[in-house]
């Protein structure tokens, strides 16, 4: 059984790495967004292999079902000249490399210092969704609530930024629905040769 899982793991991991590289290397922005979707999907596959089905489902739903769709929307609708944006890429290469190296070192340090905690319960005994929910609403209640508050703030901020009182003619649907033929239609007797 484990060998099948191993093969699947390497398959997903390879697809993930290739897709992630293609996100930044391909020229067409829509293709890049699609490769990003593939990256998310492979990551979700890895989560499933770890036994974290709930996280995988949430990853697919939130990142692929919502975030990446919005990316695609923007990339498809905006006429951004990505070639022009890329022109300065070589000049910024040293700075980019420094930032990349810093992140790499930090991640390496993190991995070296990381001791995997002994798993208290595996997915077999307790459903991991239940465990996750219990932890989120007890031990991590404050971080969880604060995170949701931050998201709410971003939501309100986005609305405030885009809400302008423009003079737009709006249709009031309740008025439209409430209209009856009695008030909308008038019958007139037109005398011949005179017009209405």
């Amino acid at each position: 059984m484990s060998s099948v899982a191993d093969v699947v793991f390497y398959l997903f991991a390879a697809v993930l790495l290739i897709a992630a590289t293609r996100v930044i290397s391909v020229r067409n922005p829509v293709h890049a967004a699609l490769f990003l979707v593939l990256t998310f999907f492979s990551a979700a596959g890895l989560f499933v292999l770890l036994g974290a089905e709930f996280l995988a489902a949430i990853l697919v739903m939130v990142y692929m079902g919502a975030v990446a769709v919005l990316f695609l929307f923007v990339v498809m609708l905006l006429d951004v000249d990505f070639a022009a944006l890329r022109r300065g890429a070589r000049r910024h290469l040293p700075l980019g490399l420094v930032i990349g190296a810093t992140i790499l070192v930090e991640m390496g340090a993190l991995l070296l210092a990381y001791h995997p905690a002994t798993p208290t319960a595996t997915g077999e005994e307790v459903a991991n969704t239940l465990t996750l929910g219990r932890l989120l609403y007890t031990r991590y209640l404050y971080p969880f609530e604060i995170a949701s508050l931050v998201l709410l703030l971003a939501l309100v901020g986005a609305i405030v930024l885009t809400l302008r009182q423009r003079r737009v003619r709006r249709q009031c649907i309740s008025l439209q629905v409430a209209r009856t033929s009695a008030e909308a239609v008038t019958l007139k007797k037109v005398a011949p040769g005179e017009g209405a």
């Binding site: 059984m1 060998s3 099948v4 067409n28 829509v30 293709h31 699609l34 979707v37 979700a44 089905e53 709930f54 995988a56 489902a57 949430i58 697919v60 739903m61 692929m64 079902g65 919502a66 769709v69 695609l72 929307f73 498809m76 609708l77 997915g123 459903a127 969704t129 239940l130 249709q171 649907i173």
Partner: protein
């Protein structure tokens, strides 16, 4: 039945070793998909016959008795036609789009239980999995419109993507009270929790919202804004022909059956009989009857209602269904707490 399956599995394991697991999975997938594709093709026949009857015309009745061979004729026609690819289209993405639509529509079926034992992959987050996979269907539509390099197709796909994303939210919220009542994300547990009372009784308004959102989510009339032929020719499918178009078509009908099946499982008690003394009829028969009723509603609605206006559609999703379903989540929580029936 269970011993028979176990014996097959045992001998297969001896015979092939590791290679048996993928093979057995493929066999199980084929056993699930073959009847599904059969249902999909005959749903197109049923749709044309039923709507024909509603509109007092015969519908397809030339190929075979009662026109029963019509789906086969259609399939052959789609297969032998030429797949046209428009100039200026992004060819790989253009061909990928119908695959995504059909793939997402079929993959979601993996976790759908047909009875307490009959299930391909018994995942404990079944319902979330279905939601997650069905949220991928939007890519097929979105990408096809863009890759066709045509304005009609692009407008159609933009409309439909906005519509699908909006109604997914309402759909997701109608499912939450069902999960709250069952205390589980597993479709099997959700059905089992309805043994006393089907969810449609305490959650009737949510069932209505679920079904209407389902119609909108599958882009069916009266919410078929995607392919409003008067404005957009055929929307995102304008430039598709032959089997590429056929795959969009199959995906749409597979999604209709999926929405009906989920509705039957979540609100109508799945394979449970309506009255206890009717338990001698096998559960899968009940499930098929319930799915059939919901599918009939899909067709009935299509034959009855004129197409919605686009702004009204979005308004209905965001300003009516979303607050209503959120409100009902609150009501369900309060009632569960007051009656002390919080599961888990």
């Amino acid at each position: 039945m269970a011993e028979f399956l176990a014996s097959i599995q045992g001998s297969g394991q001896e015979l092939l070793g590791v290679a048996w697991i993928p093979l057995w999975t493929v066999i199980k997938i084929a056993v699930l998909l073959a009847p599904l594709m059969f249902c999909v093709t005959y749903l197109t026949w049923a749709e044309r016959r039923i709507i024909g009857a509603m509109q007092v015309r015969p519908g397809p009745n030339r190929v075979g008795i009662f026109g029963l061979l019509q789906p086969l004729a259609d399939a052959v026609k789609l297969f032998v036609k030429e797949t046209l690819i428009p100039t200026g289209a992004d060819v790989p993405v253009f061909l990928l789009a119908p695959l995504i639509t059909l793939g997402a529509a079929l993959v979601a079926w993996a976790v759908v239980p047909f009875s307490a034992e009959l299930i391909l992959a018994d995942v404990n987050i079944g319902i979330l999995y279905v939601l997650a996979i069905s949220s991928l269907g939007v890519y097929g539509v979105l990408v096809s419109g863009w890759a066709s390099n045509s304005r009609y197709a692009f407008l159609g796909s933009m409309r439909s993507a906005a519509q699908m994303v909006s109604y997914e939210v309402a759909l997701g919220f109608t499912i939450i009270p069902v999960i709250m009542l069952a205390g589980s994300l597993s479709l099997k547990d959700i059905v089992a929790a309805q043994s006393d009372m089907w969810n449609i009784i305490p959650l009737l308004p949510l069932f209505v919202i679920y079904f209407i959102s389902g119609v909108a989510e599958t882009n069916r009339a009266p919410f078929d804004m995607v392919e409003a032929e008067a404005e957009l020719v055929a929307g995102f499918a304008t430039d598709y022909s032959a089997m590429a178009y056929g795959m969009f078509f199959l995906g749409e009908y597979a999604n209709m059956i999926l929405v009906s099946t989920l509705g039957a499982l979540m609100f109508l008690g799945g394979w449970l009989p309506p009255l206890a003394f009717l338990g001698f009829i096998p559960g899968i028969v009940w499930l098929i009857i319930k799915i059939g009723v919901l599918l009939f509603f899909f067709l009935w609605i299509r034959a009855t209602f004129p197409r919605y206006r686009y702004d009204q559609l979005m308004r209905l999703g965001w300003k009516v269904f979303l607050p209503l379903s959120l409100f009902w989540i609150g009501v369900t929580g309060v009632v569960l707490h007051l009656t002390g029936r919080v599961p888990g």
